[in-house]
Amino acid sequence: MKFLFDSNTWQEIFGSISKNKTRTIITVIGVLWGIFIYIALSGAAKGLDNGFDKAFKTVAMNSMFVWAQSTSMPNAGFKTGRPMQLKLGDVEVLENRIPEIQYIAPRITQGEFGSEPVYTVRGQKSGSYVLNGDFPIYTKISTKKIFDGGRFINQEDMDQARKVIVIGERVQQELFKKEEDPVGAYIRVGNVYFQVIGVHKLAEGVSFDSDSAMFIPFSTYRKLYNSGDNVGYLCIAAYDDADVVQVEKDIKAILKSTHRVNPKDERAFGSFNLGERFGEIMGFADGLTFMSLVVGIATILAGVIGIGNILLISVKERTKELGVRRALGATPSEVRNQIILESVFLTTIAGVIGIILGAGFLSLLNTFTEGGDFPYANPTVPIPYILGALAIMVILGTLIGLIPAQRAVSIRPIDALREE
């Protein structure tokens, strides 16, 4: 291994590489392209992955919505088409019977799914908005970013059925002047005055609620609308490790049995499983990452094999030169080391340039996608992956260099000299 640290060795290698420019450039481009593809693809896939992560950051990923519809089968003496109604009691039953449920937030809503939005007045200004009766726990499922000075509904609001309201950004813009602080102000919702306690900012990425939605305590809502134990729909988050599809099935099965619906009735309860959709998207991103890894590694391999090939050709071309070197006193191991080192050196140089270009490409990509709607963020390749790729290339460069090196020393110097 001493030859590795001998400046003479490197001068000889560098001489041979710099004087055979065409060969050097062709070999370098092969590997460079490979590592560039590897970095660009896996970085791009990572960016997509990050983008999805960011888009879904504000909502519990393992979440779903469940609502009531009407039966499609007769059951237990009831006729087909019986309208279903979710009740607060259902929440308790589900919480107790399905341990995979982390949070469950019942909500009752006015202004969505065909019902009239609520007419809201503030001084001379007015508008019609969606009104939700919520539990404080709702923010565990869908993060609400509240502007400074405000807050979301809390347990005390619930217990005392306070007339407090959280309004959306757009509601604020439509009902308040720019310089006015809405927190503490009163607005009339229907016929009842509510005090604004917070303004929620529309979440970046995915959000369950629009910026024109308003939130009041569930308890206040039921008093106001005299809705009793009725629930509009359930927002449910399962634990991260739970199987969301199974949880969804379990929930529906329990609801069917408590509401005396035929177990085979698919219409009685509707649901939307965000976790499942999310899993599909993440699966897509993972698949993309994996694919880019495979394509990248295949391209690197092809590049390294290309280097091996060109070195093999060049060893053939250089047969005579190598014969002369040996006549002048080069030992077989000196010749072999020189060719392997040439291979490793070329591979490494090409790899480093490829990494730099790949990083440049990713940072360009980052600038272009920044701030766009496309779910894309921070396309990076982890350092260990890059070092790993480099290590693989040095190893492959050595291995692939062995073939031409062996060929170079397998010819006797006398035969090499005779070559024309």
């Binding site: 400046s7 003479n8 001068q11 000889e12 001489g15 041979s16 004087k19 055979n20 005579k320 030169e321 014969g323 002369v324 070197r325 040996r326 006549a327 002048l328 006193g329 080069a330 030992t331 077989p332 191991s333 000196e334 020393v409 006797r412 110097p413 006398i414 000299l417």
Partner: protein
């Protein structure tokens, strides 16, 4: 310096075997300038290659400067070549991507001589062959005679015990040939031992001794009055 006893060499070609050297006895003292003559195919190159440890003998013994040369592996042969021998070829065999100076310095690289000293020595030997100002030129920028002079400088740079030249003037016109022979004579004048393979009588006459090969044996081995090449250049 060189002692050969009863040397035999055959080339096997399939089931046939071609007996090229059939019992050569031959020795060379230090400082000699020997021409090996003979018609084409008489085995001159074969003999020189065995002396140069580029090829192996089948039978007989070869002692170089007191060292018996036998059963060498490639590494050992390479080291001996590097230490004992300088080669000059008919087709020059310069490395085309290296400058004249780098070519001359190459054997020193394999002697593990440092870069600076290599360059100094290479320049010194280029100066001896009258090509100092061509040091940075590539071989394809040199004439045939200049190339051969670079090759001679390269062979001498390692300060070998014996210089082996296989038809060094074979690719050159007669005027250039005499220039090269003039150089070889001057190197010999400094006490270096030189063996030249040639089939040209005028070149052989410029040596001090002529060995004549025919059908694999030495048929004549005589000392001659050296013709100085300088008078023709």
């Amino acid at each position: 310096m060189i002692e050969i006893k009863d040397l035999h060499k055959s080339y096997k070609m399939g089931s046939n075997s071609l007996h090229v050297l059939k019992g050569i006895n031959f020795s060379v003292e230090e400082g000699e300038l020997v021409a090996i003559m003979g018609s084409s195919g008489s085995g001159k190159s074969t003999l020189l290659n065995i002396l140069g440890m580029l090829d192996e003998l089948d039978e007989g013994s070869y002692v170089l400067d007191g060292v018996p040369i036998k059963n060498l592996n490639e590494t050992k042969a390479a080291n001996y070549r590097n230490k004992f021998l300088g080669f000059v070829f008919q087709s020059f065999n310069l490395i085309n991507y290296k400058s004249a100076m780098e070519n001359v310095a190459l054997p020193l690289y394999y002697q593990k001589v440092g870069r600076k000293e290599r360059q100094e020595k290479a320049l010194k030997y280029l100066e001896q062959v009258g090509l100092k100002e061509w040091a940075t030129h590539l071989p394809n920028e040199l004439s045939g005679g200049q190339k051969q002079r670079v090759a001679i400088a390269r062979a001498m740079a390692a300060e070998p015990k014996v210089l082996l030249a296989d038809e060094p003037t074979g690719a050159l016109d007669s005027k250039t040939s005499y220039e090269v022979m003039d150089l070889i004579q001057k190197i010999n004048d400094q006490g270096n031992t030189i063996l030249i393979v040639t089939h040209e009588p005028d070149i052989a006459d410029m040596c001090k001794r002529i060995v004549h090969l025919k059908d694999g044996v030495i048929i004549e081995d005589k000392k001659v009055e050296q013709v100085r090449a300088a008078q023709y250049v």
